[in-house]
Symmetry: C2
Subunit: 337 residues, 2 copies
């Protein structure tokens, strides 16, 4: 078949060549189109001959679906984002959705970012950021700008949104019990920023389970204002330096892997301690680096694939009778604990 270099080949062209009407061409391209096998065959033959592909833009304009979803990301520093992006783009594409990647630039850029997306008629906006403020929700829901607002990898009780996330409670309970079994006595919990609207249940769960099932004083907690290795490293260094080993934490439980990696760096390279001999460390997410011999981090793998599939289900349903989704992942024990 010679390469076509027509400016653009439309359904009309195919219709003429196939000897049918333009609408029959459209039907042939719908999975469940009501059309005779014969007609479809003719259309398809003509289509491949002309190199016709339906124009999704025109389709979006005419129908009220774009099969496009916006992925709003606000923190590109966490390698786990790359894992999520890979899985989301793969699975959404397999399901017929395109993905618009939107960078939520600064602090309060959420609403603006959402507008950009809504201008392209996305079927849904998926927030994969760490922050999720009320402004976004209002912008999304007010004026029906965005049909659906989905919070990914974060639990949220905000009305009008649905969230798809890892079951933090089950996950952190498993981690905590592992630590209790191992006989750790003085945990330190290293947490990220304390947001209101979307929160991780990891810290609370850890504190609860440890307090209930352990017989020791409640764990201490430190917060860093961002999920950053450098900040975590700094925070742990300050906190542990000059601390006599009798009162030094024997395990640092981190809200995610990025913090854990920073903590390990601090212990080894700033404080001259050994992991896990002097201090153990656990993370959360299972970023690729967690498996490297350098860190060998005990962590919990979020079920990203299943989460992405759940997203597709919600999308395919057009958001009807959708409820929040919590999925279990897998505890990954490695050498750091």
């Amino acid at each position: 078949m010679a390469e076509q270099s027509l400016e653009t080949v439309t359904a009309d062209d195919v219709a003429i060549l196939a000897g049918v009407s333009r609408w029959t061409v459209a039907r042939a391209f719908k999975k469940d189109g009501v059309i005779s096998d014969k007609a479809r065959a003719k259309v398809m033959a003509a289509a491949t001959e002309l190199g016709y592909v339906p124009d999704l833009l025109a389709a979006s304009l005419a129908s009220d679906r774009s099969n496009l979803v916006a992925l709003l990301v606000d923190d590109f520093d966490n390698p786990h984002k790359l894992v999520m992006l890979e899985r989301l783009t793969r699975i959404l594409r397999e399901a017929g959705y395109g993905t618009l990647l939107v960078n939520m630039l600064g602090e309060s850029d959420g609403p603006e970012a959402l507008l950009t997306a809504s201008q392209r008629r996305v079927d849904a906006a998926v927030v994969i950021g760490t922050q999720f403020d009320e402004g976004i929700r209002r912008t999304a829901l007010g004026a029906k700008r965005v049909k659906q607002l989905i919070i990914f990898a974060r639990a949220s009780t905000a009305p009008g949104t649905i969230s798809i996330s890892c079951d933090d409670v089950a996950a952190m309970t498993e981690i905590t019990r592992h630590l209790l079994e191992k006989g750790f006595k003085r945990p330190l919990f290293l947490a990220g920023p304390d947001t209101e609207s979307t929160r991780l249940m990891r810290k609370d769960t850890f504190i609860n389970v440890w307090s209930e099932e352990g017989s020791d004083p409640p764990p201490s907690v430190i917060h860093v204002p961002e999920y950053s290795m450098a900040l975590a490293c700094e925070a742990v260094t300050t906190r542990l330096s000059d601390l006599p080993s009798q009162v030094r934490p024997d395990v640092i439980v981190c809200e995610n892997d990025v913090l854990a990696l920073g903590a390990i760096d601090a212990l080894r390279h700033r404080l001259g301690l050994s992991v896990p001999a002097d201090v153990a460390v656990t993370g959360f997410d299972d970023v690729p680096l967690a498996a490297s011999p350098a860190y060998d981090l005990t962590t919990y793998r979020q079920p990203v694939t299943e989460m992405a599939r759940a997203l597709v289900r919600v999308l395919d349903n057009g958001g009807r009778d959708a409820t929040d989704v919590f999925l279990s992942g897998r505890f990954i024990q490695r050498g750091s604990s």
Copy 2:
């Protein structure tokens, strides 16, 4: 202003409220629209009152620009991809472009991925993958499917494409001279897969400069089939184990940071050697992790921001008189060499 919950507010609605015609509304929203200040003010007032935003989908259909570019990625394992995605989405968005992230799933998925993008009428397809086969080029250029094919962060001589990349020759020359000055004698070059169409000039440059300016035997080279820490770690381990220290390389020069991080892991955790005391290591890209105390990797920072800006320039020009772009980055000396 009360939140509108109108189904959709179009330019017509704004026109009525502002007491002008629909076309005047359109003019008000064009940066260089020929329109009186008074009319524009009225339109804008009406627009904000109604919460009107132009529909980019309809605009794309009517004009022949979508202000949408597809980002085709085929390797989500390299953290540097995250850096590039952050910069590209940020700068493209600031310039008024939306970004469609497309996952080039498998081996020969390029053409298919490109089709997905072209169905949405992207103004350009930007390949950020490591692989770039001829199939992609043909699909893109054949039948004028995609107006522009741009190779980002990779030099390419493929006809009909334009590439925007770091000046590998200058960069690697700088790294090599640094190593020569430091007095290293037995380098080993660790490279990724050997592709035909888009190649890095890093390996060749290193070999050339080292051979010309150094007085020692030509460097040895090993290839790994993927840019993966694990593979690099394995390859270095096999290569160096049981090697007497007199003939052991004293520096491993890596094609990128991912390989370098894997090499460092191998040296430290598999071979029990110290970096840089026993063996030095250099990378390329300056991924965030390179700055961590754990690796402290000497590397070369790609000018990602400038590269993204160059992309915007090409896009704004609609590809007219565009030529390949090479930009210099910055040599970053750290502790690993």
